[in-house]
């Protein structure tokens, strides 16, 4: 019971973190149809900007300024890069963001060096929030969860309750019509891309000190973010949220289970040859690759994703 409760808590925490990482990507995809390969790079930029700002003026200004800076960088990337690539089609867009990820990583090397930087949790948030069966739960994790849920609510409200959100939605499906109504569609796209990257930046500000701020951090989360977005259904915010929680919990609980593949097959009535390498694997060992398995399975059986509207 105790273990289950703690695992559930861990799963939800992790899931919310994943959502924080992927919400910006989902936003960009649902609005512009662009799968931004460099999304995690903006996450990394957020962490580094926050590190730099917090080393000058402290964490709290950084929390506000760093995402805005990242958003500005993102908007510039859209304006001067993606928009040009767009003319050559979706493959060119994907390739552009793919190349961008390379460049961002190298620029980070160039500016901040190749080792982890000392980006710390602010003293106000350092400590234990509550203790559940003598396992402590840090304040910072609670803060992360709060921001993540806040993001969901704010995004949802923005898209469905505000005028700008409605225009954005319309610009996606009927860009010519929206343009004819006097709205500047390219600018809307630029804002959306800037907004999406700013969300990634915010995730970086918060994730950077909870984990480690180093040049490899983008590559480390890059692929899991895609998994979330694909499993949730490309472009579905709700889907991304559900997928994040699902993957968070699957991963946490599979770590907790110490049964081997042999046992799993035995449940299904199949006995594996003892001593083979597959038979020795445990579910725990597989935990971190389960999301990828889930993604492949989803793509085969339900290509729209859990809650996606469009197919590809």
């Amino acid at each position: 019971m105790e273990f289950v409760a703690i695992s559930l808590l861990n799963g939800i925490t992790y899931g919310l973190l994943l959502f924080m990482l992927s919400s910006g990507l989902t936003l960009i995809f649902s609005m512009m149809g662009i799968l931004n390969f460099a999304h995690a790079s903006f996450y990394m930029l957020g962490a580094y900007f926050a590190y730099q700002i917090s080393s000058w003026v402290g964490f709290w200004p950084g929390l506000l300024v760093a995402p805005l800076l990242v958003g500005a960088v993102g908007a510039a990337v859209e304006r001067y890069g993606l928009r040009r690539a767009h003319r050559f089609g979706h493959v060119a867009e994907l390739l552009f963001t793919f190349g961008l990820a390379f460049v961002v990583e190298e620029v980070v090397h160039l500016i901040w060096g190749k080792v982890a930087v000392d980006y710390r949790i602010p003293a106000e948030l350092d400590g234990t929030l509550f203790t559940l069966f003598d396992t402590s739960f840090p304040i910072y994790k609670g803060f992360m969860m709060l921001i993540s849920v806040g993001m969901l609510v704010a995004l949802y409200a923005l898209l469905t309750r505000t005028r700008i959100g409605l225009i954005i939605q319309a610009a996606l499906t009927k860009p010519d019509m929206v343009e004819a109504l006097g709205h500047n569609v390219p600018r809307i796209f630029m804002l959306v891309f800037g907004g999406g990257t700013a969300l990634a930046g915010l995730a970086g500000v918060i994730g950077g000190n909870a984990f480690v701020t180093e040049p490899g951090m983008a590559a480390a989360v890059g692929s899991i973010v895609f998994v979330i977005v694909v499993v949730g259904g490309l472009g579905s915010l709700g889907g991304a949220f559900v997928a994040s929680l699902l993957i968070g919990c699957i991963q946490t609980f599979s770590v907790a289970l110490s049964i081997s593949i042999t046992d799993v097959f035995a449940l299904a009535g199949v006995s594996l040859p003892a001593g083979s390498q597959v038979a020795r694997l445990t579910i725990t060992q597989l935990a971190p690759v389960l999301p990828y398995l889930l993604m492949v399975a989803i793509l085969i059986f339900r290509p729209r994703g859990l809650m996606g509207a469009r197919e590809s």
Binding site: G113, V115, D118, R120, T135, F211, A256, Q285, A287, V289
Partner: protein, 412 residues
Amino acid sequence: MKSPFLNRLALAASVMLIGGSALAQVKIAYIDPLSGPFANVGEAGLKGFKEAAEILVNQKGGIMGQKLEINGFDNKGSPQETQLQLKAAIDQGYRFVTLGNGSGAAHSLIDAVNKWNARNPDKTVLFFNYAAVDPTLTNEKCSFWHFRFDANTEMKMEAISNFMEKDKTIKKLFIIGQDYAHGHQVAKYTKEMLAAKRKDIKIVGEDLHPIGRVKDFAPYIAKIKASGADTVMTGNWGNDLSLLIKAAKDAGLKARFFTYYAGGLGTPQAMGAAGENLVLQLTEWHMNVPTKNTEKFALDFNKKYPGVWFYYLRVNNMVEMVAKAMNTAKSTDPKAVALALEDMRFQNDTGEVWMRKSDHQAMQPLYISIFSKADGKTVKHDSEGTGYGWKTLATISQRDSQLPTSCIMERP
């Protein structure tokens, strides 16, 4: 269609020519990642080598009057690229190569060197390994042309288990590691050695996780906590280690972590306060081992290269031992140098380093230390500016980490 190709090759050839016009120097090619994700470790190593060559050899008269020069070759961490860079180095007249990062690259290099030497007996090449710790390199795959200056995984475990044997507070042990060869080896040796030395230690859990893919270690920590372990053994390095420690701190886990690589470049900084009194490491040296010369060397080094922290005493050992071997043999022929290195006993300021002849594995004193708050006394120096440094808990003598080898060496 082929003309840009030819131009490029001409360019390549000219680059080689410039590089190839070497003076009367003894040159060692440092083949390690100098770009890409592991470049930080590779660059730090190269700086260490250059500094050691300058201070410990060249300023003391060099090698038979010649200067020792160590130059970097970027293998980008790839085993294939390692072989290309080996060829490049050989073309430029290098007869000595050194490599430390990545067992894949090390295996690739030892194979390539063996084959090259068999196929080109007049242009042999010698491989000095300063950090690749796969035991097979000095056992099944041992080679006359390979010398290792770092203790291998098995020896390190032998040292750690000898320490555990005496520490009766250890009752329940949990093993966690990265799911690849090194992690598997650590888990295997831990179980084997403890079964022989401390039957009463209960192994309460064993987990492997894919390397570099775990973002949140909280579930693993929950499991360790649920198992009631008081001690954790891990071979993790880099982020997999820092994140593990951070998660342990967050969840308030009160177990000690025995590690191989907690002192590795960047890790103390990434762990920060989370590691205090929680993390132990096994090394051949650390800043708070009272060694006058090395301490000064390290302080000078850290001052000279801000952001890079002196870590590899074995690099100094290697450079000095190689120079000594060349001076004794009065030759820079790889075979002669190899013969002079065999069975060499070298005094550094932690004790004696012995290069065992049977498998070309260096034996040296090792230290188990714990990450503690720097106090200016026993913990005189902090690590990477964190305010925490390493405090020696035990010294393992050279003899206590020795293990038999299965090496059957083919000698030329």
